[in-house]
């Protein structure tokens, strides 16, 4: 007992050691379990780990080394660039375990796929030196990616690549009024939620429909349809929305492939991010909002000014710029977590944005960038990425985009641990009816052109 206490005290007094990235260790242990113990005393194993992110490869190699050693293997990490199977045979290894690792796009998972190849010479196949003594095996393991693993798995941007890539993610019928990225099920699976005049759709990161709920109920007429949308914890459900002209907001719960009513809201859910949700109120009879921004539902909240707002966006991971609110006067207000104004270094004109915009920390520097549509009416539209706290904020301006961008949202869709943004461009569909092209804006190097 005393010995145990002493050992505990020694542990407590020693330098604090951070836990290794759990996903790397979990996946390595799972893969080692798949490999199993060394049969027939063949313990010598050459380990070759490949990953597009070098940091992930090195850490995973260490974790696999430990996990395989615990299974009884004598592990030799592969060095150099020689062909691995030949190197294993030349070095007298019994096995070659060649592992490829990477983050599953959109899923937030670390995936390992390995080939366990016998490398010892077969007595019966002496005349065929390259022949394998027994058939090889494919082994694999997965683990939900934690932030540390996501950091390790992040690839370097290729030299000369633009700050971010923009590509079409999919197309929805109708005009997208509001977008949100988040976890609508509470199952740690990112998804995109879109509201159009006719429906609410939960979409997978590749824009495939997961659940669709058609709009119901009578709305007061509004000349330009609009909606507020947020994903977060809203009581019985994680999707909250209010359509312009509706008397109140509604909360929806994603259950399987169904979006079900789960409650009502006496405020418009403007957005939700790392700093929490933000609520507002539609100006009566319109599709724009009063200058009401509250952190809690407060139907009695008074407008801060006579201004009206196109909407607000939340930084998915918070940070010094937690929210941004765009007025119908096209003045963008940057707000901290406490809704206090954040001073931009650049002149207001440099941060001018159209009504489709989103905050998203694309480069992972802890401060959200502003992904914005053009502030100038007249097609074609362009996507601009702005660093609001920089003196020269323009990081990227896209070539002309087909359509008109009127909605946007930020969040991690590619599963690399960094925010992406999705903007919806209103176009004319092939049938002549309105449609929306969903555009992914991401700094994930896997999306680099």
């Amino acid at each position: 007992m005393r010995l145990a206490l002493v050992a505990l005290a020694a542990l407590a007094a020693g330098p604090a050691r951070a836990a290794p990235p759990p996903a790397v260790v979990t996946a390595a242990v799972a893969l080692a379990a798949e490999v199993g113990p060394p049969p027939e005393g063949r313990r010598a194993l050459l380990l070759a780990v490949e990953a597009r992110a070098p940091a992930l490869a090195l850490t995973l190699e260490t974790a696999l080394d430990a996990a395989l050693a615990a299974r009884g293997y004598a592990v030799t990490p592969r060095r150099g660039t020689t062909e691995p199977e030949g190197a294993a045979r030349a070095a007298g290894q019994d096995w070659l375990l060649r592992v490829r690792a990477g983050l599953v796009p959109g899923a937030g998972e670390l995936a390992l796929v390995g080939e366990l190849i016998p490398a010892w010479p077969s007595f019966f196949l002496q005349r065929r030196p390259g022949a394998r003594a027994i058939p090889p095996r494919v082994v694999q393991a997965r683990a939900p990616a934690d932030p540390g693993t996501l950091l390790l798995g992040r690839e370097e941007r290729p030299p000369g690549a633009p700050f971010a890539a923009i590509r079409a993610l999919g197309r929805l019928p109708g005009r997208v009024l509001a977008l949100a990225i988040g976890d609508p099920s509470g199952g740690r699976r990112p998804a995109l939620v879109a509201v159009t005049p006719g429906l609410v759709a939960v979409l997978s990161p590749d824009a495939a429909p997961i659940a669709v709920r058609h709009a119901a109920g009578q709305l007061s007429p509004v000349r330009d349809p609009a909606a507020a949308l947020a994903i977060g914890e809203f009581g019985g459900g994680r999707v909250a929305l209010q359509r312009a002209g509706a008397p109140r907001g509604e909360v929806l719960a994603l259950r399987g492939d169904a979006l079900e009513p789960a409650g009502t809201l006496e405020a418009a859910p403007l957005c939700a991010g790392g700093a929490g949700p933000l609520f507002g109120a539609f100006a009566p009879g319109t599709g724009v909002f009063l200058d009401v921004l509250t952190r809690l539902v407060d139907p009695a909240a008074r407008p801060r000014s006579p201004r009206t707002l196109y909407g607000a966006s939340a930084a998915p991971r918070g940070g010094p710029i937690a929210f941004a609110a765009l007025g119908t006067d096209l003045v963008l207000a940057l707000l901290g977590p406490d809704l206090a104004p954040v001073e931009a270094a650049a002149p207001a004109a440099a941060l001018a944005t159209g009504s489709g915009f989103a905050l998203a920390d694309l480069d992972g520097d802890g401060t959200a960038e502003l992904v914005a549509s053009s502030p100038t009416p007249g097609a074609p539209d362009r996507i601009r990425i702005l660093a609001p706290l920089a003196k020269a904020p323009l990081l990227l301006e896209s070539p002309p985009i087909e359509g008109v961008i009127l909605a946007g949202a930020g969040g991690d869709l590619t599963g690399d641990g960094l925010d992406d943004a999705v903007l919806a461009a209103l176009v004319t569909g092939e049938d002549g009816a309105p449609a929306s092209t969903l555009l992914l804006v991401t700094a994930d190097p896997r999306e680099s052109p």
């Binding site: 007429p221 000349r223 201004r307 006067d329 096209l330 009504s355 100038t376 009416p377 007249g378 539209d381």
Partner: protein
């Protein structure tokens, strides 16, 4: 005119908003050639703008020229070979005061178009309805062709087949007064702008602007105010500033001859008028967008030049001296009359001009037959050949002629046959189509939502200012 309609859909989206959603609020100031009237019985573009802003059209025309529901819940289908139409009003329709509007109000509106004395220029809209003559003549106050079925439904029976009748339901005069996106803030005062304030109860929702102010401004003043941002939109013939869109040339100017006075000289004079170079008239003597008008039914036109004067009538000399009546208060009419005076002089006809100031005076002289030749501007309400010809005939020759023209041109005809029929009718009615002219919409830098329909109408409820409100 037809070419203008075709170009319109492609030209106007340039002024529509892109990348920025509409904003509500503020007062939009619109400059016009003349003072806007609140009474709603005028027929010039300013009057029609006020009428459209303060009434709810039964049907609307989309950008492609297709009919879509307005105050009606659906576009009525023709029954009985185009003689019967069942109209169903949108449920819950109310006027700006909150009063429920129903089929009885629509019946009253249609009847009121016919029951004014002197007749309203907009009576043409209800003219095809059975029993219109009895109301026009003051013999009754109800239209026999209108049968109310329920609070929101009625059946209209026409006096003759007219499949194009729903297009008349999309005109501003057919709209339900008091149910438009705006209402009059008060009586119009001399020298003061006409102010319209928003109707919160409009069936499409609150208009974007809180108010419209309509100012009469000459071209120079309008250009200066537009540049200073003190006007948001100018609707005048001239192009002002850099954001200019030509609206469809929908004001048809025709020469109406009076056979009762001209006698045998009518046809030679008609031929002399028809021989005037109408392209030159359109190009040099009309300030706004214009094109030569080759027929009284524009959709029967090809894209080519006006047809020759055509055969018909007895050969002979035109009368040596005539009086040309024109409305000097209407755009370009004086210039056109003076040019015609010169051209007819070349053909041996001495013309003295008789200028009246205002459409009411012109209509009175026409009704009394007190003219030799009259220049009559007609702002066409419905973009359809038969209806245009019918409206021109109504404005110049009265109800019977209008009905006859519509009856003959309403049936589907081959393009060549339609043009021949229109030419024949013009000859028989002693009409010479001259030019079609329109206005230009000159927008200020912040004005958005300016989309003119194929019938030339601008929905004031959709106008908004980029960057929000202004005091």
């Amino acid at each position: 005119m037809s070419r203008a309609l075709a170009l319109l859909a492609a030209a106007l989206p340039a002024l529509a908003a892109a990348g920025v959603r509409p904003a509500w609020g503020g007062t939009l100031r619109i400059g016009l050639s003349g003072p806007a009237r609140a009474a709603g019985e005028g027929a010039d573009p300013a009057d029609l703008l006020v009428m459209r802003a303060t009434s709810a059209p039964l049907l609307e025309l989309d950008a492609r020229g297709r009919l879509v529901p307005g105050a009606l819940a659906e576009v009525p289908a023709a029954e009985a070979d185009g003689r019967v139409f069942r109209l169903r009003l949108r449920p819950g329709l109310v006027d700006a005061a909150g009063r429920r509007l129903g089929a009885a109000d629509l019946a009253v509106r249609l009847t009121s178009l016919l029951s004014r004395s002197p007749p309203s220029p907009h009576a043409f809209v209800a003219l095809p309805i059975a029993g219109a003559d009895a109301v026009l003549d003051g013999r009754t106050h109800t239209l026999s062709g209108v049968q109310i079925l329920s609070a929101t439904e009625l059946v209209i029976t026409l006096a003759f087949p007219l499949p194009q009748f729903p297009l008349l339901l999309a005109t501003a005069p057919a709209g339900l007064p008091g149910a438009g996106p705006f209402v009059l803030a008060g009586p119009a005062l001399a020298g003061a702008p006409l102010r319209l304030v928003r109707n919160e109860r409009h069936h499409e929702g609150r208009p974007f602007a809180d108010a419209l102010e309509l100012h009469a401004r000459d071209a120079r003043v309008a250009a200066r105010l537009l540049e200073k941002g003190e006007l948001d939109l100018v609707l005048r013939p001239e192009a002002l500033g850099s954001r200019v869109t030509a609206l469809p040339a929908l004001t048809a100017t025709v020469a109406a001859l009076n056979p009762d006075r001209l006698g045998a000289g009518t046809e030679p004079l008609r031929r002399a008028l028809a021989a005037i170079d109408r392209a030159e008239l359109a190009l040099r003597f009309v300030r706004g967008p214009a094109e030569p008008l080759a027929a009284i039914a524009p959709s029967a036109l090809g894209a080519g030049a006006p047809p020759p004067a055509g055969p018909g009538g007895t050969a002979g000399a035109p009368p040596p001296q005539i009086v040309l009546l024109a409305d000097a208060g209407a755009a370009d009419q004086r210039a056109l009359a003076e040019r015609i005076q010169v051209k007819l002089f070349d053909r041996g006809v001495r013309v003295s001009l008789d200028l009246v100031d205002g459409a009411t005076g012109l209509r009175g002289r026409l009704a009394a037959g007190d003219f030799d030749v009259a220049l009559v501007p007609v702002t066409v309400l419905a973009p359809d050949g038969a209806l245009t010809a019918g409206q021109i005939a109504w404005a110049t020759r009265g109800a019977a002629a209008a009905r006859r023209v519509m009856t003959e041109l309403a049936a589907p005809l081959e393009p060549g046959a339609a043009q021949a029929a229109a030419d024949r009718l013009a000859r028989e009615l002693a009409l010479v189509p001259l030019v079609a002219s329109g206005l230009r919409a000159s927008a200020g830098p912040a004005l958005e939502g300016l989309v003119a329909r194929p019938d030339g109408a601008i929905d004031g409820g959709r106008l908004w200012r980029l960057g929000g409100t202004a005091p």
